[in-house]
Structures are given as C-alpha cells and as structure tokens.
Amino acid sequence: MNSPDPAIRIENLRKRYGDKVAVDDVSLHIDSGEVLGVLGTNGAGKTTMVEMIAGLRKPDRGRVSIFGLDPQQDRAEVRQILGVQLQQAYLHDALTVTELITLYRSFYPDPRPESELLQLVGLGEQGKVRFGRLSGGQQQRLSIALALAGGPRIVILDELTTGLDPRARRQMWKAIEGLRDDGVTILLVSHVMEEVERLCDRVALIDSGRIIALDSSSGLVSRAGAENLDDAFVTLTGNELEDPE
C-alpha cells in the first residue's frame, strides 16, 4: 500500500435505467493533477457516469473511489475535496452573485476568497445582480465559481463552456489552466474539440455507455489515422459529435 491512490478510480461501473444500460462496465483512473476529458454524443452515458462519480447516483455494480474514499459512504469527506459543476443546475434566483458566493463559501472550512472567485470567472462587475437576471453565460460562469468555492483538489465540470461566447470560453480555459498549474485534478465533460485538445492530458471517448478509446488527443488522432480529433471521434465511435447548443 505504498503507492498513493489516484484522484479518481472507477472499477467496472454499471448503471441501467429499465432495460437501457446507461453505463456499461466502465473502468478508469485519473491521476492526481491530471486533466481528463470525456467526449461522447448525447445519451452516451457521460452525465450518468459523472453523477455516480459525484455520489449523486448509486451504481448498480462496480465502485468509485475518490482518493480512496467512497462518495456514498464517505460523503462528508468527499464533499470537502470534490467540487462539482452540474449541467443545468439553477440557483436561488432572487439572490445576488455575491450572496450566492457567500453562501457556498460558508459550507467549506477553508474557502477561496470571494474576490478571487469573482475575478476568476469574470463576474467582478455583477456582484449585486440577482441570479435570475444574469445571462445564461453568466449563470454558467457563476456555477463554475461555486464549484471552486471550497478550493477543491478535484473538480468535475459537466459541459464547461456550453452556452458561453468565445471570449468567456477563452477566459474559462485560462481559469482551468490556472487550476491545472495548481495541481488540481480535473474531469472535464465536453462537446468542444478545441477545448479538449487544449486542456486535457488524456481523453476518454464514450459511446453507448462504454469507453471506446482512452489516450492523449494526439494519440487518438494517430490511432484513428485521422486529421484531427473531430475526425478521430467519428472514425472511432462511428458517430458525429453533435453540437449541444
């Protein structure tokens, strides 16, 4: 037991809804400090996988370990070190940006400073604006700031830059690179090839609940004999990657 645990390890993970298998025997590990991208079409099982890793859903079979901790049984510990940005999660709509950041910071023993969080996601000017009055992109950025409020060692980002304009998108990429430089482990679910190529050390291609391929993006491209990651995705999964917007 000398080798340290990986940040995230999942073993033979399986989840079915009725007769549809959403996640089918997936095993994967993410090293501490690594940025892993998850690419797949809608309905490929990405979100179900993320929800099981985050402890929101109980797997039918298999197990998840976060630095050796079980997200279901060691909930309190895991919540300290794991920050999660959920796809389409809304917040108290009558509360302002600052009020929400204050609230989420209060849950953690050693939160990141409020001004730093606001600056990181470029909402410094919007502190007094209510969540319900923010644009979709601003809501998304606030959601990312809240995932980082506790100063997590692992961050799960589900559709990081969906709905963001190009400028905000680049700003988020810079923020993620900053986290990576700080040694934060990142699981990034994405539809954006450029984002995955730029940020991720390795990429998992998911199709019909299974991992089809797992390699660096250049590794995937050369394995598929393709021109770019887009083409590699089509060659390896047989599916076009549709735009979620």
């Binding site: 929101l56 510990e77 919540r79 209060s106 849950f107």
Partner: protein
C-alpha cells in the same frame, strides 16, 4: 490507502448564512407576503368593527374570543401550507436541492432553514395582527398567555408538517401552490373561516374541529376566554404533526 480528510460538517456560519439567504428569498417574493400578512389583517379589520363589545367571558369580547383566533390561525396556516411548500417545490424543480447535495451542506439544511424563516415570518404576522387588534380595536390579551404560546408552537408544527407533505408530493412548483391552496381552503372552510362553524351542518362542523385549522381556532379561542382546552384539539394538532412529518420524510423526493 485513502488520504486523510477531516470530515468537516458545515457549522454555525453555514446555518446562519443559509437562514439569511432563505429569509431574503421570502422577503423578495413580495406577492407571497400578501396572503399570510395581508389577508389576516384584512379579515381582522373587516370583522373587528362588526364584532360587538359584549363580554363573552372573563372580560374578553367577541373580538378576542372569536375573531382573533381565526385571524392568527390564518397567519400560521397560510405560511405553513401554501408559502413554504411552494419554495421547496421550486428548489427541487430548479435543481437547487441537487446542487446543494454535491456540497458539504445537505439539502435537508434548506428544509430546516425554510422552517426557521417560516417561523420568523409567522411571528411577524402574528405580532402585526395583534398590534393592530390591540391598538386600534381595543382587543385583550389571552387569559392564559402561556397556554396560548404553547398552542401557537403546536399549531405551527402541525401546519408546517402539512406543508412538508404538500412539498413532498407536489411534482412542480405550480402544483405545490394548487395543492397547498386546496388543502388550506378545505381545512379553513371546515374550520369555520367562511361564516363560522354555526353555519355548517353539525357533522361537518364536528369533522372540521378535529382537523388542524379548526382545532387551532378552537384551542386559541378557549385560552383567550380562559376556558380549558379540549383534549381532542391538542390531539388533532399532535397527530397531524407526527403523521405529517413521517409521511413527508418517507415521500420527499430530492430531485
């Protein structure tokens, strides 16, 4: 080997922050304040001038013994059965409970914070109604103030338990308001909100008195006049509280 992480539970700061946030949500929902604060005051003003100065018992008038208990029960029941569940159903629908469940805070903390804020809101509503009644209409305090306080607490527990059941079974925020209104009007009508219990057929009036709205009105009426509270009213409120919270705990869906 797993890493050592201290299991830090959200402390007093987190609770305070959450209660402040819930209070702001409630205060900024202006339309939601009209019914629990405004409606009882309206009924008080309209009934107070009609109520006679005739003493019913122990120096307490019809205003004290019949109008005030109804008005104060209205404050507690509208907040508990209509307002609180609409917030909780919205939080679930919007994914707010789900979002909180991936933080060290438990979504159950939101439920507790909503109850705390609802109690504060009820205290404000009761104080406002009492102040208007005493200062403008010469109302009198209850003959048994301690017992009145106890009944307020028990009635709030019963109404909030009913509200939790509404929040547990309502699939959408809209249906929470609809179900809350139906439950509220059914209980209130049987409890004598419209035209008093005397206007109801005897068996219906008897049933209404066993239900929490009627039971609260009757119990408050007794302590205001200085009579003994009938056990059936206390049992009604106690059973509603226990049954309501139990059913809500079993049925409540977090997402």
């Amino acid at each position: 080997m797993s890493i050592a992480v201290e299991a830090h539970r959200p402390g007093a700061g987190a609770w305070l922050s959450l209660i402040q946030c819930e209070a702001k949500m409630v205060a900024r929902d202006t339309a939601g304040l009209v019914v629990p604060i405004g409606l009882p005051l309206l009924i008080l003003v309209m009934s107070a001038s009609a109520a006679t100065d005739e003493v019913v018992a122990n120096g307490r008038t019809a205003l004290d013994v019949f109008v005030l208990p109804l008005v104060l029960t209205l404050v507690i029941s509208t907040i508990g059965i209509i307002n609180m569940p609409s917030f909780l159903a919205y939080y679930r629908r919007a994914g707010i409970l789900r979002r909180l469940s991936v933080t060290p805070a438990s979504p159950a903390m939101v439920l507790v914070a909503q109850v705390v804020v609802s109690v504060i809101q009820a205290v404000i509503g009761i104080t406002a109604a009492l102040a208007v009644a005493v200062l403008i209409f010469d109302a009198n305090p209850p003959v048994q103030p301690g017992a009145a306080l106890g009944i307020f607490v028990l009635a709030m527990a019963a109404m909030y338990a009913l509200g939790m059941v509404v929040a547990a079974v309502a699939p959408t925020p809209n249906s929470a308001v609809a179900i809350g209104l139906i439950v509220f009007f059914a209980l209130a009508a049987l409890g004598g909100l419209f035209g008093g219990r005397a206007a109801l057929p005897e068996p219906v009036a008897a049933v209404g008195e066993w239900l929490p709205f009627g039971a609260t009105v009757q119990a408050l009426s007794a302590v205001w006049a200085g009579f003994a509270v009938e056990p059936v009213h206390l049992i009604s409120l106690g059973v509603t509280t226990v049954l309501g919270f139990t059913v809500a705990a079993v049925l409540f869906r977090w997402d």
